[in-house]
Every structure is written in C-alpha cells, then in structure tokens.
Symmetry: C2
Subunit: 231 residues, 2 copies
Amino acid sequence: MDASNLPEDALATPVPRRREVVPEATVARLPIYLRALHGLADEGQTTVSSEALAEAAGVNSAKLRKDLSHLGSYGTRGVGYDVDHLIAQISRELGLSRRCSVVLVGVGNLGRALAGYGGFASRGLAIDALLDADRSRVGEQIAGLTVRHMDDLPDVVTGVSIGVIATPADAAQEVCDRLVSAGVTSILNFAPTVLSVPSHVDLRKVDLSIELQILSFHEHRKAARAEGALA
Amino acid sequence: MDASNLPEDALATPVPRRREVVPEATVARLPIYLRALHGLADEGQTTVSSEALAEAAGVNSAKLRKDLSHLGSYGTRGVGYDVDHLIAQISRELGLSRRCSVVLVGVGNLGRALAGYGGFASRGLAIDALLDADRSRVGEQIAGLTVRHMDDLPDVVTGVSIGVIATPADAAQEVCDRLVSAGVTSILNFAPTVLSVPSHVDLRKVDLSIELQILSFHEHRKAARAEGALA
DNA sequence: CTGACTTTGTGCGCGCGTTCACAAGCGCGT
DNA sequence: ACGCGCTTGTGAACGCGCGCACAAAGTCAG
Ligand SMILES: NC(=O)c1ccc[n+]([C@@H]2O[C@H](COP(=O)([O-])OP(=O)(O)OC[C@H]3O[C@@H](n4cnc5c(N)ncnc54)[C@H](O)[C@@H]3O)[C@@H](O)[C@H]2O)c1
Ligand SMILES: NC(=O)c1ccc[n+]([C@@H]2O[C@H](COP(=O)([O-])OP(=O)(O)OC[C@H]3O[C@@H](n4cnc5c(N)ncnc54)[C@H](O)[C@@H]3O)[C@@H](O)[C@H]2O)c1
C-alpha cells in the first residue's frame, strides 16, 4: 500500500509529532484499556501506573506501554498516566468522541438481544436504526426504536457508518451488498458465512459456533493428553 | 525452537507420523473449513482442490494446504481432497465426533438468544443445561430445556466440559470461579470483563462492544485520511 | 540543590504466522 | 508404458508482534 516512507518532510508538518500508524493488535486492545480506565475512574483513581493498568486489562505491562506510546507520550515518568486524560486520548483515537451511529439488520433472536443491550451507549456507540425484511416485524418497537423495512435502508444510513448483520446466513451476502451500496463502510457480521466486500470496506465477524469449536478442540486435546499420560 | 536440521534421523521413530502440534491460528480456521466443506457436500461435490476450498473459506490457498498438512496428508496430488473424508478428519481433530456438551449461565437477553439458537447442534455441539441465579426464571422452559438454579451447577456439569457465561459483568468472575470449581475446563465469556482462571482452564471471550469500537477506529481513520487527502 | 527512587518509553532478539514458489507425486490420455 | 498437466506438501524468506531489560526522565525527600 502507500506505506511510503515519510521522507522527513523538510517542509515540516506544523503538527510536531503525528502518530504514524497504530498496529492492528494495539487497536484491538485499546477498548480493553478504555474499559479498565473507566473502572478506575469510577473508583476515584486519578493516575495509574502501566503496571496497575496492565494488571486490570490482563496484559503485559511492557505491551501496554508500547501500545500507549503509539498514540503519543501521555505518561509521566515516576508517576504514571492521568486516568481522565488517557480516557480522552484513547476515546479520540477510537473515534468515539464524535458519536458513531450503527444500523442493525435482522431483528430476530440475536438482533433483539443486541438492540436491547445498553452496553454500547456507554461507550459512545448507539444503535440508531433497526431493519428487517419481514413486514410483520416492521413497525414493532424495540428498546425505543421502531423496526423499519429493509427498503428504507438508503434513507436510514445517511451519515451512518457501521452496519451489523444479524440475519440468517443465506441472506447475509445480499444484505451486506445492500449496506455497501448504501454507503456503509464498516460491517460486523454475526451470520456464519464468509462475506466478500470491496477493499475499502472493513469487515469483522463474530461466530459463536467457531468459538465453541475451538474450545472443543482444546477439550479434545486435553483428553488425549490425559490418556497419553496413562501410557 | 529446535527447528534444527533434520538429520534424516536414522533412528526412525517407530510411530510413522504423529501430528506434532496444531498451531492455534490453524485451529481457529478449521471450523471455517468445516463449514465450507459441509456446504460443498450439500452441493454434491465429492472432491475439492485447495484453491476452491480456500476461495470458499476466504483464505490463501497455501495457508489452507499448510493448515491441513498439520493433520496429515489427506489430499491426492493432481486431484484434491475428498470432501467427506476431510470433514471426518477435521471433525475428529476438533473433537466433534464425541458429542460435546455445553452449560449456559445467565438466561437474560443474550442467554435466551443463545439457548434458542439451532446453529450449534448441527456441528456436534449442543447446550445441555441452562442456569440462572434469579429464582423467578428457574423452571422456565426455553428451547426444550428447563432453567435450573445456579446452586444445581455441581449436579449439572458431570461430564460437561464447556461453560458459557452470559451474566452481567459484575457477576462474571464469581460464576467463572464456580464453573471452574465444578470441573469445567473451557469457558466462553460474553461479559465485558477480564476474567482470571487457573492455567489448566481455556478461556475465550466475545465482546461486541470491542468489535464495534475497532470498526469505529477504522471509520475514524478513514475520515482522517479523507481530510488529509484534501490538504 | 542533590541524590535516590519510581516509572515511562523503546531497542532488540525471538518465535509465530503468512506467503511465495517449486519439487514431488498422482492420474489420465495416448 | 510413458510423459504431460494438475495439485499437493513444504522449504525458505519475510514481517509482525511480544516481552525482556535498560536508559532516559521525571518526582520527591531532605
Ligand atoms: N441466536 C443466536 O444466539 C445466534 C448465535 C450465533 C449465530 N447466530 C446467527 O445470527 C443470525 C441471526 O440469528 P437469529 O437467531 O436472530 O435468527 P432469526 O431467524 O431469529 O432472525 C433473523 C432475522 O433476519 C430477518 N431477515 C431474514 N432475511 C432478511 C433479509 N434479507 N434482510 C433483512 N432481514 C432479514 C428475519 O426476518 C429475522 O427477523 C443467524 O445468521 C445466526 O446463524 C445467532
Ligand atoms: N444483550 C446483548 O446483546 C449483549 C451484547 C453484548 C454483551 N452482552 C453481555 O452479555 C451479558 C448478558 O447480557 P444480557 O443482556 O443477557 O443481560 P441480562 O441482564 O438480560 O441477563 C443477565 C442474566 O444473568 C442472570 N444472573 C445475574 N447474576 C447471576 C449470577 N451470579 N449467576 C447466575 N446468573 C446470574 C440474571 O438473572 C439474568 O437472567 C452481559 O455481561 C452483557 O454485558 C450482552
């Protein structure tokens, strides 16, 4: 990609020190740090050391420091990090300061649970619209939102950036395509299917069956190892 | 590691070829291959090339071949892999042949959706018990199962190996500890908390807020890049 | 002001995972 | 029987991410 070298740019960008790129692995941990920090803030802590925060987040302290260093030098040596300031910086980095809207497609068993979940709003994320293809569900009120028909999608997604797919697997690709056509550039997929999207669209998936199968594998291996130990 | 030269090992291990260890990254993809293979089998395909299967699974074909090579040489050069045979091998490796039972704790919004989900059973996994601490929910019938009280846990988990936590975050660690005490050695956690478990217990987590925050980050970066492009 | 202590930020080596590229192997047509 | 084309299995190179360990940098006591 255009990860071109930054040739020192003698023309000096006015901004002193721009964050180069934040590694994916770091991005995936920032929300964990954020949650831990909120917990500390609620306890009244004003500063926290990398050691303590790492403990709360369940990671190595060196990793934590390296992660945070990618967003800038916000710590004070000998003291630690200012909790509120760090919350602000991570929130900004994650784009949570400007409220991010979400559209959920498929109001079935799972969709209902997600729509009613309050855990998103507390983090600057909120589900703004519910869509379904089943006309018998359209008009239904769930968690203060009215279910709208799939055909309304173009009207709904103005300014919306994240789409969540909670439809059956065989409808997922079609729904995905329609989301993309409507301008959605980030998608979270719960349907057990491989989706294909244009390169400018970010796609993540959550597959509960896969998680259980991975655990099943480890159980299987533990059992095999135990038998092997008998021999 | 000991990726030392393999000096032809004149001492020839008696066992022809034992699967050494299957890398974690490979294990995480096996369920995807399995799903793709089931789809192919339903279409009547009897054999499949690594190229075609990789396409269906959304991965690089070399990666697929290397993954499969960790379970043995089950392909035929010039032809590909036998679909049914490969399904059997992967299922065996994942431990899905011997049916794996699951206990779900916390029958709230999310727990209900999970309990009613039929996508597990088709893969040799089935939820065998539902538990909750709320006595007003005990006795309730969900998807053919009766909700039992948390205190029955020791009776319920005989032979059960996988526990799923779908309780509020502040109860998760306690529930986790009780599962471990009862002998559960694999846990899937949906609560947004860092859990600690003994080293012999496998722990995985699914956190929807984190997924959305990661997408939010990428949206934020896209927006920043777009602005940068204007300058 | 100085010195000791605390904690950050990071250079470095290492191991894992991904990918390319190709030789070895197998079936099929002739 | 024999080579031709297709596909697997893997050697090797590369890049990323992790974690140790330490120097730099700041605080605080006296
Ligand atoms: N329920 C769970 O706990 C669970 C667990 C893991 C995975 N999943 C997956 O999540 C998805 C949803 O599961 P569910 O249990 O909620 O299913 P569901 O059948 O209860 O709900 C699906 C919803 O999608 C709607 N829908 C169908 N086609 C549509 C389309 N083309 N456009 C818009 N909406 C459409 C349906 O009307 C329905 O309301 C499935 O892919 C399932 O495999 C669910
Ligand atoms: N609902 C969602 O879509 C969603 C999304 C993401 C994450 N989550 C997380 O999943 C978890 C469950 O969410 P929910 O919406 O189903 O919550 P919920 O409040 O609807 O259900 C929680 C259930 O757990 C039970 N419970 C409470 N304490 C318990 C204990 N000590 N032992 C056993 N059971 C106990 C409660 O009685 C209740 O039935 C929460 O941690 C939530 O943050 C939910």
